[in-house]
Amino acid sequence: MTTENKNTAVSGETVIKIENMNKWYGQFHVLRDINLNVKQGERIVICGPSGSGKSTLIRCINRLEEHQDGLIAVNGTELSGDLKNIEAIRRDVGMCFQHFNLFPHLTVMENCTLAPIWVRKTPRKEAEASAMEYLERVKIPDQAFKYPGQLSGGQQQRVAIARSLCMNPQIMLFDEPTSALDPEMIKEVLDVMVELASTGMTMICVTHEMGFARTVADRVIFMDEGQIIEENEPEEFFNNPKSERTQKFLSQILSH
C-alpha cells in the first residue's frame, strides 16, 4: 500500500464526539480531559505506552467502561446510564479484543449469527447467509462449522472481526487485535483490517503496528498518562513528532 490509497471517503459528518471526558478508577485518574471527534469514514490509530489509557478510552466508546465526567456521543446519541441508548450504540459499534473473546461453546457460524438473530432479530437463514459472506471476506469460510478452540489465533481473530461485521456496524473498534498473536499470524489479521479500511469503514485501532498506522490511518493519536499528547497525520506524526514524549516513545518503539 502506498499513500495513494489514502482515504478520500471521509465525509464531514462527525460520528463520535468526545468532549472534556474524564474517568477515574477509584482515586486514580485514568483518562484526563479527553477531546476527540471522529468523522464518518475516518481511520484512527491510537498508540502509547502501556497503562496510558488507550484501551480504556475506546472501551468507553461502547460503554464497556463508564466515564464519570464529560460527554461521549455516538451518532448523536449521548452515552449515559440510559440502557436504550447503550443498546443502540452497541448495535452500531463493533469491537475486536486482544484475546478475541469468541464464545467457545458455539461454532464459528453460531458466533457470527448470535447477535444478528437475538439483537437485530434477523431471520436465521438470512443471518447465516450474511455470516458466510463475511467469513469469506476474512478468508475462512471453510472453518465455519468448527469451534473456536480448533482454530489458530490468527483465524480466531479473523472470526472475531467477521462476528462484529455481521452486525453491520458503522464504526469498528480494535483493542490491540494483534498483540496476543504469534508474529506469523499478525499479517493475516492486518491484511483483513487493511481490506476493511479500504471499504470506508470508520475505524479506531489501538495498536502497536506502526506500519499499519503509516499506511492506513488518517490520523495517529499518541496517549500518555491518560491524556492525548499529540495527534497528527501519520506522515507528520512519524517524521516530525512535536512532543518530547512522542519522540521518546517513537524512538523506543522503532529502535529495533
Binding site: K84, M95, L114, W118, V119, M167
Partner: protein, 460 residues
Amino acid sequence: MSKSIAFIRTEDAPSLPPPSSHVGWRKWLWDNMFSSMANFGSIGAAIRSVLIILLTVTLLYFGLTVIWSLIKFALIDAVWSDPDTLKRGICATVAQGGVAEGNVGACWPFIGAKGKLIIYGRYPEMELWRVNALFVGLAVGILWMVWERAPFRRQVGILMLTVFPLAAFILLTGGNVHYSSGTWTTFIALTVIFLGGGLVGARNLLGEVMFALSGFFIVFGMFVAAALIAMFVTSLDLGLVHVETANWGGLLVTLVVAITGIVASLPLGIVLALGRRSKLPLISYLCIGFIEFWRGVPLITVLFMSSVMLPLFLPEGVEFDKLLRALIGVALFSAAYMAEVVRGGLQAIPKGQYEGAMALGLSYPQMTRLIILPQALKIVIPGIVNTFIGLFKDTTLVLIIGLFDLLGTIQSTFTDAGWATPVMSPTGYLVAATMFWAFCFSMSRYSLHLERKLDTGHKR
C-alpha cells in the same frame, strides 16, 4: 608419549534387555513394595524401614481379615434359600431355636422376603408397574445423558428436568389433584396479565413503559404459564388410583427425595448464584444471607424446621403432606449448596466473555442465557453430581422425622419377630450399605471422569 584423546566408535554397543530385576512382576513388586522399606544404610533409615515393614504387615493382616470375614459372612456362611418357609428358623442356630448348624452368615431369604418393601415401601401391589415404569424411564434418561455419543443429549436432558418430574408426580400419586377455583383463577389471571402483557408490550403497542418491561413480563409470565400447565396436567383424571405418600418407602422415597432435591434446587441455585453476583447491594446481600444461612445449619435442623414449623407458617387449614414438607426443606437446603457450585462456574468464566457479549449488544438476560450459563453449567456438572451424591446420602436423615427411606425401611424390618435372629440386622445394614455405596461410587466415578474430560478438553 601423550595419549590422544580422540575416540572413534567402530562397533555399535549392543542394545540389551534391561536387567531382570527391572521388568515384569519383580520390578512391580520392588517399586510398589520393597523400595520403601529396604534402606538399612544408617540407623535412622533402618529403624524407619523396620517400622514400615511392621506397619505394612499389620495393615495387610487387618485388611485381609476384614475382607475375609466379609466374604465369609456374605457368601460362605450365608443362608441362601428358605424352601420350607421356616423364616427365622432357617437363619437361627440350633441353640437359638433354629435349624442352622455352625456359624450363620447373611440371611438372604430375609432380604428376599423383604425385597419389595425395601424397594417400594408399602406401595400397593397392583400399582407397582407405575413405579417400575418410572424406574425404567429414569434409567433410560440417565443412560442417554451419560452416553457421550447419543443424539439429542441436550433435549433429553431438558426433558428429564421438565417432563420427567411431572410424569413422575402423576404416576406416583395418581394425579387428579384438586385445586381450588381461587388458585385456578389466580394463576390464569397472572398468566394472561404477564404473558399477554409482555407479548403485546413487546410489539410496542402499550406504550414505552410496557415495551421496556416486556422482557421481564415475558420471563415471569413463562414461569406462571409453566406452573399453570403443570397444574392442568396434574389435575387430569387419568384413571390412576391415588396412592398416599405414607405408603411410599424404601428406595422409592430415597430417589424421590434426592431427585426432587436436585431438580428443584438447580433453578433456585442458579437464581441465587446470579443474585449473589449482582451489582445491586440489596439483592446480593439477600442472596448471600440466604445461602449462608442454609449452609450454616445441619440438614436435620432444616428437616425439623420444615416438619414442625412449616405448618405454623401457613394459613390455618392448609394441610401439608409429610413427604412434601421434607421435600421443601431439602430443596431449599440443597439450593444453597447448588448456588455455591454454580457460582464457582460463573467465576470461572473469563471477563472477556461478558465483554464480548456486551460489545455485540446482547442485553443482560440474553448474555446470561446464551453465553454465560451454557458455559458455566457445563463446567459445574461434576460439582452438581457431587452435590447429588451428598444429597443422596443425606436422604437417610428423613428417617429421623419419621419417613421411610431405604435405610429407614430396612431398619423397620428388624422389628419383624418372624425373622428375628442375630444376623438379621447385619444383613440388613450390609444390603443398605452396598446399595448406597453402589449408587454413590458409580456417580463419583462419573463425576471424576467428567472432571478429567473438562481438564483436557480445549478451553477458550
